[in-house]
């Protein structure tokens, strides 16, 4: 019995640990496209960018229980043969499986506008963080396209390094989609107080510069100059290699509560982490793909447990999903933390402090709290997570 986990990030790691924890003693192979063991990505836009970090500082501890796992690095999956039950890799390697786990995560979305080549960056992996840091250290001013978490964190880090920052984004406010206009506006003001210039509701016409990007031009005719340009405009799930198996691969791999790709058939395919889309049963029944910190761990644990259960009993583990999405973001001295799904709310209620300072903000949908976001108030947020799990 061989379980092939494609993707050597946090979700793949937790799946392997959970399989061993649940008593699975068969073969486990983990194949990753990067040359590294699983490592912690959130510091890439923060400390690793500001101070430079070694990959050894970022690698997750690997438990004794998974010491016998076979690791393959530096190779990406190209296609899956559902009849032969094998995955073809870029190097030509063919890996067979009895159970396949997709843990291939996401890649940065790129802007499809003309121009530029060099001096254009995105940030997802360790090498990209290193390259960006090296270039940023020689830069006086930078342009960041996108005002989501990554864009805002890079902006904060760059300001700490004394670099001029312009943020260009299509949304009306920073972090608009996950946190809404009011909170986003307050966050923009925090950034502006630190000298970041925002160009919101902006449409980018193209890159400036011949070989190297020297900025961007907007459809309004405005030009925004920088020594380098960073694209932080969201991500795309890495699902192309799973095509042809009849699974729903629209915006990630649709999975049931046991993390099994659907519609399921006799071939065992599961998905975990950022690439998986599923319903958060504590909130509603709409499948969502949410890229928050705790979910690779939650989905990896669930998948390991349900695969082991299925292999032992022949039955699918039916257990509602009780995950509460959670993330944090460090921007300057401010720590933003969130529980739940604030992005689905229709109104907000500031229950403690004010948006300009330390605060606790409830996010409500039809009068019911579906998320809570705080700035520098982690102690006050804690009870909310419990309440999500207890009220349902």
């Amino acid at each position: 019995m061989k379980i092939l986990i494609v993707g050597a990030g946090l979700a793949g790691l937790r799946t392997a640990e959970s399989l061993r924890g649940a008593g699975f003693a068969g073969e486990i192979t983990i194949a990753g496209e990067e040359p590294h063991f699983p490592y912690n990505r959130p510091p890439l836009s923060k400390d690793a960018l500001a101070h430079g970090l070694d990959i050894a500082d970022l690698e997750f501890k690997r438990r004794e229980s998974i010491a016998d796992v076979t690791w393959l690095f530096d190779d990406s999956a190209i296609s899956t043969d559902y009849q032969q039950q094998s995955v073809l890799f870029k190097s030509g390697r063919l890996e067979s499986f009895d159970v396949l786990v997709a843990a291939t995560g996401i890649r940065p979305r790129t802007l499809s506008v003309p121009g530029a080549g060099k001096s254009k960056f995105s940030l997802r992996n360790f090498e990209e963080a290193q390259a960006l840091r090296t270039s940023m250290l020689g830069a006086e001013r930078i342009v960041i396209i996108g005002a989501g978490f990554i864009g805002c964190e890079i902006a904060a880090t760059a300001r700490k390094l004394g670099i001029e920052v312009a943020v260009v984004a299509a949304d009306p406010e920073p972090m608009f989609r996950p946190l809404g206009a009011e909170f986003g506006r307050a966050m923009r003001k925090r950034h502006e107080a630190r000298g970041v210039k925002f160009h919101m509701n902006a449409k980018i016409a193209g890159y400036l510069g011949v070989d190297s990007a020297t900025g961007v031009s907007l459809e309004s005719g405005e030009e925004i100059l920088g020594d380098l340009v960073i694209e932080a405009i969201g991500s795309l799930p890495n699902t192309e290699w799973l095509a042809g198996g009849g699974r729903d691969l629209h915006d990630g791999v649709l999975v049931d509560s046991s993390m099994r790709a659907t519609p399921a058939d006799e071939v065992s395919v599961y998905a975990v982490g950022d690439v998986a889309r599923y319903s958060f049963d504590l909130f509603d029944s709409t499948p969502r793909r949410i890229e928050h910190w705790n979910l690779p761990t939650e989905t990896g644990r669930r998948a390991g447990k349900s695969i082991a259960h299925f292999l032992t009993t022949g039955e699918v583990l039916a257990e509602a999903i009780n995950f509460v999405p959670s993330f944090w973001s460090d921007q300057y001295e401010d720590n933003v933390q969130s529980f739940g799904i604030p992005g689905i709310a229709d109104s907000i209620n500031v229950v403690d402090g004010e948006l300009a300072g330390d605060c606790v903000v409830e996010y409500l949908r039809d009068g019911k709290v579906v998320g809570v976001v705080g700035v520098n108030t982690s102690t006050k947020l804690a009870p909310y997570r419990k309440s999500f799990q207890e009220s349902n």
Binding site: K61, N294, T297, S326, D330, N335, S378, T379, A382
Partner: protein
């Protein structure tokens, strides 16, 4: 077992508290407080706390 938190790394997010609230807690000042000597019967939950720490600041011996 012995629990250790690297307080240089810890940012007091409190994720560990959800996994093992008899071992980890946040004080009124928002700072993490934890027990060093913990009974082995709590190992599974404490290891979960190690897993979910955003800063990967917790170690167990």
């Amino acid at each position: 077992m012995k629990v250790h938190v690297d307080m240089e790394k810890c940012q007091h997010y409190g994720q560990c508290v959800f996994e093992a609230d008899d071992v980890f807690s946040l004080g009124d000042d928002g700072k993490l407080v934890y027990k060093v000597d913990v009974d082995d019967s709590r190992r599974s939950d404490v290891e979960s706390a190690v897993d979910v720490c955003p800063m990967q600041a917790i170690t167990v011996e």
